[in-house]
Subunit: 338 residues, 4 copies
């Protein structure tokens, strides 16, 4: 029997999560919610995703626009085992009690605090912590990216300290509002939330993060300096990441010199929506000096957490005990090579 | 028997043309050329497109990168009926004599002058002019956009004069070089080439164009003012474009307010590469006052000419006499709704 | 005796208006208001402009930040003959009654509707309409730009119709919020307000405007097509604008090809804040065909209205009857060459 | 007697250096060179800077444009004691032998390698190394910024290690060419040149740098993590920088949250060209944890080296022995507060 999944909030992450769930043979996408009859709601219908109004007050808007809804979130909650909450940051707390009352498990996103759930999720690093949990939180795109590349380095070589500068995109490509058009804005409150967020997954990790926002829409880029517990080589680091799921090595010398070309690669690969769910590390940007490692990685903020959401569902609903098997199953269904 | 097609230049347009040709049941994609072993060359191989070096000197580069080529452009020319020249602007003249010597028909792009071929092409407006031609030119993305929406208005209502301002994107998303980062640059040489270019398709059209370049990568936008030969209504104009192939009406009130949301729509629709091969007209941006029509349209510079290339092949190789049947056949193969 | 002037709102326009008024020998800057103790408030104090809190509630904020205020707007209104309202768009209506009650004249900005005052102002085109008026409105930066170049052409040659496309900047350089980062957004509601706004100055002008917003901060650019009442030449048009106050001709062939270089020129000229209060017309972008004129102009949205505000004060307070003498006086005080 | 100074190359740095030299009472600006009669050449003439053609071949161009030159670089070299070479990166080597042959001292810019001169310059950190030197090099804008803030911390507290990520602007505001419009591009070759460049000034400094380029024009921003030789507090760090010349502390809570507002501040301060010659450190972005210091700084790439050039002239020509007196003298002449 398939696990019945609902998506609350059909925005940037929600629409991708809906697609991803719909591709899994052990899950059934029961429906998605939306507050307004925008073109994105039309797209949900076009893709055959049952559309629910977020609340009763929203129904009239859909009707006026000639869109039939299958009910409201309350109705959806009666039909699902688990709900993926992809509502905008800050409103999740209110929803949590609703899910609880309906006896439905819930997955929140990295925009929410760890304290909301007490459990955070990354498939490789702590799959089992969400095992059977009522609520869990898939960490943000940036934190997911940091976990994906740091966890295997820590496991194989040992990490004693990480200093990472996050160069954030200012808005998503379709966002109406964004950062300043022609400026760089530092995140003055230090440490930024990303370091502590990594520690919700790997509490032992000594990591400090700084961040700036820049006027670009495609991807975040991280500049990462790692102090290791022993000497290593660039070859060893490369060979570790070559085996790491959801990490892709690219090279500037192949013409992939910026996030612009990474996205071009994604489009050329035929990825749905031109997404890049893997963390992209520049192979010719890796530098090792004794026990110090420096590298750059690019994070596709719209999509990298999507396969993590699928794996989190499996852990929470006890569909699959082995993280590597869940990862492999998800990857295959979503067209990821490893 | 299928028409054998080669693509000379596997860049922004070339890779899309290759894909489009490969989807036609009356055409066979024999091969594509590339000068360097970049990631785009790898993608050609991944998609199963036979890869040819542009010239003998380029072969070594591919071999060094471990990519096997099927030969050079000269070899490719012995195997095809027609070549789509998607080389960068300005070098086509040299290639033309090569194609001629090989007895191969050739389609050039809008970056080249009309004088190179003496015939320019738009599927709706002048399909028959390229009938059986040795060489033709598919006009540029902007000119294609102007022809797509102006031709049916001229045919149904009559156009006496057009003034269009073209707000151009500064570079394609994956381009390494582009316009100034934070400036608007007018095209001082007036008239810009776009008006005369429309007249290579519709010589009777009275059209003046101005243009500026802006720091964005997604699409061009046109502000178009049309003096008509008679009074009309917004409803009549809408009903004309609703029937026009490769024109899509969108609405700001559905949340599609900018080129950013148009591209989001394309991605949500599942279009390959997130492309929008249709010309997008804002329905709620159409204004008619007596015999004056004002409208905005958005042009996806990377892809709108792609279906035109396919139709141009059919006209030049006499595969299909009826433009509307060629258009319908192309559209179906490429997933365009009309 | 000098006219006593207050500035309500020390933002982008307000701080420039304060500076401009302080430079006039027939005016006295009595004070400026601000709502919060930001760095701009500090700059007001640094320049010796008496600082008033916008209202009593704001006083505490300044005190907490260690900034002494000279009182509130209400206090300021008891000391001035005229107030320049440079508050954000939309709140002016409420202030108007306050000014009226205090028996103080008021100048509003182009962000407000013409109906607020019933009189709009451009120094060259309708200086006398504000003569002795209680309230007037200096039209917006874009409308000011259109009036500056169209009025003399209309007067000398005669204008029968104007079609203008306005390519707007998305935000000012220091604005925290702005347009989309990588998109072009058309102003769908047609006609845009700019055409009717020109008609508040020149009611006889037949003008239609369209507009798009682009992700740049420096200047707006207009693409303007003018039908004239008789044939002309590029030379005649140039000679008209060479004599027109606050219009500057530049050339692409001197390296001024975009708004980026126009702003570089302003900085090189030593203009305060690097402003360009003149409307910039590209001389080598002017094209005349018989009785049709096409041209591009750039508008510095932060500053072009500033000298108009000064002239408007003179007209409303009957300081100077001759518009050309007021313009010359203002220009000299502000360092404008003509 | 005043030291006679020439400027070779009147571009972004050259025009500022010319202005700065012209403000010093112990220096005389003899002339500046330019290759083409652009608007910048006109501005040189407007400011009364004698204009020299870079070489004989360039003279005709100026004459054709109606600009009189005072001769060529060769003529200029016969009249000066020292030349500031602000030619574009990479051509300086050829000029060096020319200067040497003319018996003229030369200052090169950070775009050139340290090996060109064997001496690099920062006023606070190593003023005496250029004492009487024939050739010296003022390090790049980024390196100057790193030296300005790190040198006093190292001197007062002791620095054991620095990891800095440089978020670079993609082009200057008036540059015709720049970085990608909508992408982040990492500098893959590690370490970037900035770390070793700091070591040409402070060889004992243990510093690693990474860098990315972003699509903005205003300033660079650095994210800096410093391991100190002893514990400190944020207050101590602030008090050190408060006393450090050419370092300005700003606060996000005053509304200065990004490089956009830093530049707005510069314009509001009335700085020539709106420049910010000081390194800007966000006071509320300084974080100290035991013996670890984290901070953000912004670098105005167009101007921060300008006062250093003036001081370098004084050191090389033995005008002033005490660095602090030279710095104070320069600052006063240029309007810098400390």
């Amino acid at each position: 029997m398939k696990i019945k999944v609902g998506i609350n909030g059909f925005g940037t992450i929600g629409k991708r999560a809906a697609w991803a769930v719909s591709k899994q043979d052990d899950m059934e996408l029961v429906g998605v919610t939306k507050t307004r009859p925008s073109f994105e709601a039309l797209m949900a219908i076009d893709q055959g995703f049952p559309l629910y109004a977020a609340c009763q007050d929203d129904v009239a808007g859909f009707e006026k626009a000639g869109m039939k809804t299958a009910g409201t979130l309350d109705d959806l909650l009666t039909k699902v085992d688990i709900i993926v909450d992809t509502t905008p940051g800050g409103v999740a707390e209110g929803y949590k009690s609703k899910y609880e009352a309906a006896g439905v498990k819930g997955i929140f996103q990295g925009g929410e605090d760890h304290s909301l759930t007490g459990i955070s999720f990354n498939a490789m690093a702590n799959y089992h912590e969400s095992w059977g949990a009522k609520f869990s939180r898939v960490v943000s795109c940036n934190t997911t990216g940091l976990c994906r590349t740091l966890y295997p380095i820590d496991k194989e070589i040992g990490v004693s300290r990480v200093i990472a500068s996050l160069i954030r995109r200012g808005a998503d490509p379709g966002d109406r509002k964004g950062s300043m058009l022609n400026a760089i804005e530092p995140s003055l409150k230090l440490p930024t939330h990303h370091g502590p967020d990594v520690q919700t997954i790997m509490p032992w990790m000594n990591i400090q993060t700084m961040a700036v926002v820049t006027p670009t829409t495609l991807m975040h880029v991280h500049c990462i300096a790692v102090d290791l517990k022993r000497k290593t080589t660039e070859d060893e680091v490369v060979s570790i990441w070559q085996l790491t799921p959801r990490v892709r090595l690219v090279r500037g010398k192949d013409g992939i010199k910026s996030t612009g070309q990474v996205m071009e690669l994604s489009r050329d690969m035929g990825n749905p929506r031109g997404d890049m769910m893997e963390i992209v590390v520049w192979k010719d940007g890796i530098k090792v000096v004794d026990d110090h490692l420096y590298y750059y990685q690019a994070i596709h903020q719209e999509s990298d957490v999507v396969p993590e959401i699928v794996d989190c569902i499996r852990s929470m609903t006890k569909l699959e005990q082995d993280p590597l098997r869940s990862i492999a199953k998800t990857n295959k269904a979503l067209g990821l090579s490893k």
